[in-house]
């Protein structure tokens, strides 16, 4: 909230006699005011002329401070302060007033709390006394107009203020002020405040400059992007649905996977509460079946994604780094998972043990078979791309060779989708077979264990990514 007030520097009683109601100039306050600011003037208490100067400077400082505080503490309109200063700098104006925006209770604090820049209450006087004040002061203070050569417009206008205004600081409670009480501690504190204020001003300036420059950079980048898009290069962007579809399979899958993960977390939590609360088998079965169906869902999503962008799945970029470490043909290894589970599923019946053992062996064999097929594919692809590079049959023959090679390689690459599909099929079948072998309660514990394992891997990835680096 703002109040139209006038700021007076401390005046001695002579000036007070010029028509200003008796304000007891609290010198410590003015000392505080004076020592804050960009220029430091010593304060000989006995010298009234320099007192005026310093007080005027104090005024300027006060306005600076007020400007800072106005900026820092609230979104007060900045325009008013300069305009007020303009008002003040106009020597023809009879009324000198400028806004001071104390952030909290105005004019009630006994002293200018420069220590706390956020809550500084500026000195102010009741507005009733402002009206006729300026005129009488102008005559007195006009010779004091140019004291410093600082080019800052703020300081210029305030210097003018200082010249015109006979400073009279009015504070409502001046009882505990004793004159000339500039002790070391206060001095140090004031100096620190000055420094802090200056630093914050500089920081603000730097920040604004940074914002401006990054805005420019942003517009430049967007233009580049636009240009590159027109040339047909695919660039993935988060907010552009109208663009070409080539990378959308990857992005779409990432989004779907994230959603699936959230849903999975929810379902697993439900399962956990059911297990911990010893729910009945029938209830557990429903929840477990729900989780199994949810796994089917991710395999379905992956199957669609493999048609759109098989390499995205193969790369594992949709998984976290630690999970990627264990990546096999675009997903987890079922045999590894079973190995982890067996220890946690005790007690198992003899038949279950045999079943799980067989399952482990089968999944291991299938994984080996698929891995070997992949290796053969890679080898063949490498051979396809490496033969014929030193063909001697002339340039046209080379081109034909090249085209033929590429066609063959393309065909071979196309079979990758089949491998991903079979790998996912293996994972799905393994999970379902495990569910068949185990009882409902054991399945529940198994599903919880699987989920916990993967969550820990994901947490490990986050920790890894956030680790401090030299």
């Amino acid at each position: 909230m703002e109040r139209r007030t006038s700021v007076y520097g401390a005046k001695d009683e002579n000036k007070a006699a010029n028509g200003i109601p008796g304000f007891d100039p609290p010198l410590p306050i003015t000392n505080i005011l004076c020592s804050k600011g960009t220029t430091i003037h010593p304060f000989p208490a006995s010298d009234l002329d320099t007192f005026d100067q310093s007080v005027g400077l104090c005024l300027e400082d006060a306005v600076n401070l007020s400007a800072n505080i106005a900026f820092d503490s609230a979104n007060v309109s900045r325009q008013e302060v300069p305009s007020d200063r303009n008002l003040i700098s106009n020597s023809d104006k009879t009324q000198i007033s400028f806004n001071i925006y104390p952030s909290t209770d105005q004019a009630q604090s006994p002293r200018l709390q420069l220590e706390n820049s956020q809550q500084t209450n500026l000195v102010s006087i009741p507005s009733g006394t402002t009206e006729n004040w300026g005129e009488s002061n102008m005559a007195d203070s006009s010779p004091k107009t140019d004291i410093s050569t600082d080019a800052d417009t703020d300081e210029r206008s305030q210097r003018f203020d200082r010249g015109k205004s006979s400073a009279l600081v009015a504070v409502s409670d001046s009882s505990d002020r004793s004159k000339g009480n500039l002790d070391q501690k206060t001095l140090r504190r004031l100096a620190q405040n000055r420094e802090a204020a200056r630093k914050s001003r500089l920081r603000k300036k730097a920040y604004v400059q940074q914002l401006e420059s990054s805005r420019l950079k942003l517009t430049q980048l967007e233009q580049e992007l636009q240009r590159a898009r027109q040339q047909g290069i695919f660039i993935s962007s988060s907010g552009d649905p109208s663009h070409s579809m080539s990378g959308n399979g990857a992005m779409a899958f990432d989004v779907e996977y994230a959603r699936w993960l959230e849903e999975q977390n929810r379902k697993i939590n439900e399962l956990r509460t059911a297990v911990n609360s010893h729910a009945s088998d029938a209830e557990l079965r429903i929840i477990v079946d729900g989780v199994m169906a949810h796994y089917d869902e991710i395999f379905r999503l992956k199957s669609n994604a493999s048609k759109a962008d098989v390499f995205h799945l193969l790369s594992g970029m949709w998984k976290t780094p630690a999970e990627r470490c264990f990546l096999w043909l675009g997903g987890f290894r079922s045999s590894e998972l079973l190995k982890l589970l067996v220890s946690q599923l005790e007690p198992l019946t003899e038949q279950q043990l045999v079943g799980i053992g067989n399952l482990q062996q089968s999944s291991q064999q299938a994984e080996d078979a698929l891995s070997q097929g992949m290796e053969a594919l890679q080898q063949s692809l490498a051979e396809t791309l490496s033969t014929g590079s030193l063909g001697s049959s002339g340039s046209s023959g080379n081109v034909a060779n090249y085209m033929g090679q590429m066609a063959m390689a393309m065909g071979k690459l196309g079979t990758l989708e089949g491998f991903i599909r079979q790998a996912d099929n293996l994972r799905q079948q393994t999970l379902q077979q495990m569910h068949r072998i185990l009882t409902t309660r054991q399945s529940a514990r198994a599903l919880l264990a699987i989920h916990d394992y993967f969550s820990r891997l994901r947490a490990l990835s986050s920790l890894w990514l956030a680790r401090p680096r030299e």
């Binding site: 078979a369 063949s380 599909r421 079979q422």
Partner: protein, 140 residues
Amino acid sequence: MQSQTPPELSLLTYLPVPSFFSSQLLLLLISCINLLVVMDKVRDLASKKAAVIFTKSSCYMCYSIKTLFYELGASPAIHELDHDPNGRDMERALRGLGCDPSVPAVFIGGRFVGSAKDVISLHVDGSLKQMLKDAKAIWF
């Protein structure tokens, strides 16, 4: 229509054909007979050994399934369709049996089992091994 008529059907060309048969109908007839003949051939091949796999040398999934069978101790008979003169017809016949993709096509004990997906699913739940045992392709 295939560019080469299979040797079995070349005899048909010597049959007297009524002139009111259009050429297209004739071709259709020939291809149907062809298919049936080839299917018979496929089945015939498939029952010759306990485990038979129809593959293509360029298919790497076939390679994986072959590897799986070897790991299980079976020694399946491998027929590479791209090295067989009737390869295309056989591929069509296999597709007619419901095998998608047409290779690898697995037969155990003369019975059609399926493609890679079916084989993996059966292997995971233990049925594959049992089928192989039953067909005496493996003994343990």
